[in-house]
Amino acid sequence: MSTVLRIILQRLALGLLTLVIVSIVIFAAVNSLPGDFAQAILGQAATPEAVAAIRTQIGLDDPPVTRYMLWLYGAVQGDLGISFAQANFTTFTGSSNNVTVADQIAPRFANTMFLAGVTAAIAVPLAVTLGILAALYRNSVFDRAANIFTLSSISSPEFFVAYVLILFLAVLNPILPSLSNIYADMAMGARLKATLLPALTLTLVVTAHMMRMTRAAIINLLASPYIEMARLKGISPLRVILRHALPNALAPIINVIALNLAYLITGVVVVEVVFVYPGIGQLFVDSVKIRDIPVVQACCLIFAAAYILLNLTADILSILSNPRLRHPK
C-alpha cells in the first residue's frame, strides 16, 4: 500500500505545484497590461486624485512580486480583492461598503455548481450506459446511428444546441422557460425547472463526448484475451461484463467522466450567457468585456483550480483501481 500512497502524494504535490504555477501565469498575464490601468478603468475624464486613490487601493504602487505574494496570500484566505467596477463606484460615491470579489462570486459559484451538478446527474449515467451499449452492439445500426449523432452533437457549438432547444422547448412548445431566472431563496422544483434547459444543452454536448470515449474504452477492453478466456470458460455474458470487464473498465470510465466534467467548465461559460444564467461564467464574460481585472483573475483561478482538481481526481482514482499498483510484486 505504501507505493500507492507515495504515488498519490506525488500526484497531489504535482497538482498543487501546477496550481501555483498557473496562478503565476495568470498574474503575470494580467500584469503585462500596458501603462497605467487605473487610468484605463476610470477613463480619460478621471481626476488624478481618483486615479491615485485607485492605485493605492489596489496596490499598483508595489513591485510585482510583492503584489503577487499579497494576491496569493489573499486568495488562499478567500480574499480576492475588490472589483474595479465596485472600486470605481465607491470612489465616485465616496461610500466605503465595498462588495468584495469573493462576495460577488460566492452565490454565482453555487449556482454554477448546481447547473454542473444537474448536468452531471443526467449526463453521466446516460452517457456511460449508451457508451457501453454502443460498444456491446458495435457496428450495428444502433452503433452507426449513435456515431453520427454524437459526432454531430460534438461538432455543434453550444449556442447552436441552446437555440435549437429554446426554439423547440421554450418558444414553439412552451414547456420550459427560455431564460434562467434564478434568485436566492427559490423553491427546489422551480429552481430545477429554470435550470433544466441550460442543463439539457450541456448534457447533449457532454454526453456525446463521454459516450464516444466510453465506447472506445470498452471496445478496447472487450478485445483483451482475458475476456475471450472468460467466454471460453462458459461464463454467462452478464457475468463476463460484471466480473471481468467492469473492474478493468472502471479506471478508463472514471477518467472519461472526470475529463468531461472538466470540459463542462468551459461549456458552462457560453451556455450561461445564452440563458442569462446567473453563474460564474456569465460574471466572467461580463467582467472580460468591462476589463474588470480582479474579477477576471479570480474567475480564471477558480476555473483552473476546478480543472486541475478534476484531472487530479481522475489520475488518483485510476491509480487506485490499478491492481499492479495496489498489489506490488
Binding site: L19, A29, L136, S140, S152, L167, I265, V270, C300, Y307
Partner: protein, 390 residues
Amino acid sequence: MSVWLWIVLAFVGMGVLAWVGRRVGQMATSNAPRFRDMPYGVAFGYVFAAACILGGIWLWFLPGAVFFRWAVQGFVLFAIAAFVFRLVFRHVGTAATKRLFRAMPLTAAFGILVIIIYAVLAIFAGAIAPYGQSEILGAANVVPGGDPAMGGNPLYPLGTDQIGRDILSRLIYGAQNTVGIAFVTTLIAFFLGGSLGFLAATVGGWLDQLLSRAVDVLMAIPSLIFSLLLMTIASVWADGEKALLTVYMILIIAVIDSTRVFRLARAVGTGIVVMDYIEAARLRGEGMGWIVFREILPNAMAPLLAEFGLRFCFVFLTIASLSFLGVGIQPPLADWGTMVRDLGPFINFAAFAPLVATAPLMAAGAIALLTVAVNFVVDWMLQKSSGLKE
C-alpha cells in the same frame, strides 16, 4: 410533470412489446437461431427504432412542425447529394481517387462535399454575395423567404439584420472571415506545436522536459477561459484598433492550441523515434535534418492530418464562441458567431412567426455543418489508418 410520466410509460411499454415480440418470433419460427439467440437488448432496439420512425412520420404530418420537415428534407437532400457525389467520383478521376471513393462511407463523402462547398463560398464570397458585408440597405426585416405576403422583401431572400444589412450576403462573407481566420490560426498552431513537438521527441533530454512541463502548465488552464483572459488583455493593448485585435486573437488561439498539437506531435514522434529504422539511420551517421524530414515526418503525416481536422474544428468553434461572447472577430466584418449573438434574441418571436428563427439558426447551423463535415472526414481517416494497423 405528466410529460415525464408519459416518457416512462412509453419506455415500459416498449420493453414489454420487445419481450412479447421476441417470444412470438420464437414460437412462430419454432426456435430458429435468429430469434432463439436474440439478446433482449436487440429486441428492444428493434421496437425502439420502430417507435422512432413512427414518431417521425407523425411529426412530419403535424402542421406546426415546419423546422422538423425542413430538417428531414435537408437531411435527405444532403444524403442524396453525397451519394451522387460519391457515385460520380467513383467513375471520374485518377485510379487512386476512384479507389478512394469506392471504399468511402457516405458520411465521409458528405463531409468532403460540404468542405468543397464551403471552400468555394469562402474563396469567391465577393463574387457570389449579392451585397457587401457591411452595406446598410434598409430597415431591419428578419423575415426570410422574400414573400411580401408573409412580410418579407424579395430583394433580400433571407431578410435584413437588426441594422439593415443583407443576411444572405453576410452569411456568405462569414464563410470567408470565420473559416479563413480559423484556417490561418490552425496553420500557425500546427507550425508552432508540430515543430516543437518533433524537436522534443527527437532531441529528448532536458529540452523535452522543459517544453513538456511548460505545455502541461498551459494545458492546466481550460482553453476557452485562458483565451478570454488573454483577449481581455489584448483588447487593452489593441486600444480600439479592431484589425489589430483580430491579429492578437489569431496569435492567442494559435499559441493555446499549439499545446495540444505539441502533445500529439511529441507522442507520435516518440513512437516513431524508437523504431529500428530510426536507429539504423542514426547508426548510419545521418544528420538531424534527414531524420526529421525524411524518416519521421512522412510516417507522422496520417495522424497529423487527422489531427489537423480536429484542431481546425476546435479552433473554429473557439473563435465562433469568442465572437458569440462579443470578444472575437470584430464588426463590421461579418462572422457567424456575432450573427448568432445579434440575431439570436429574435428566436423568442418564433411563437408568432416561426420563420424569424431561420436567420440565427442558419448562422449557427453553418458553423455546425462545417465542423460536422470535417469531423466525418477525420473519423473516416482515423478508421482507415487504424484498420491498416490490424
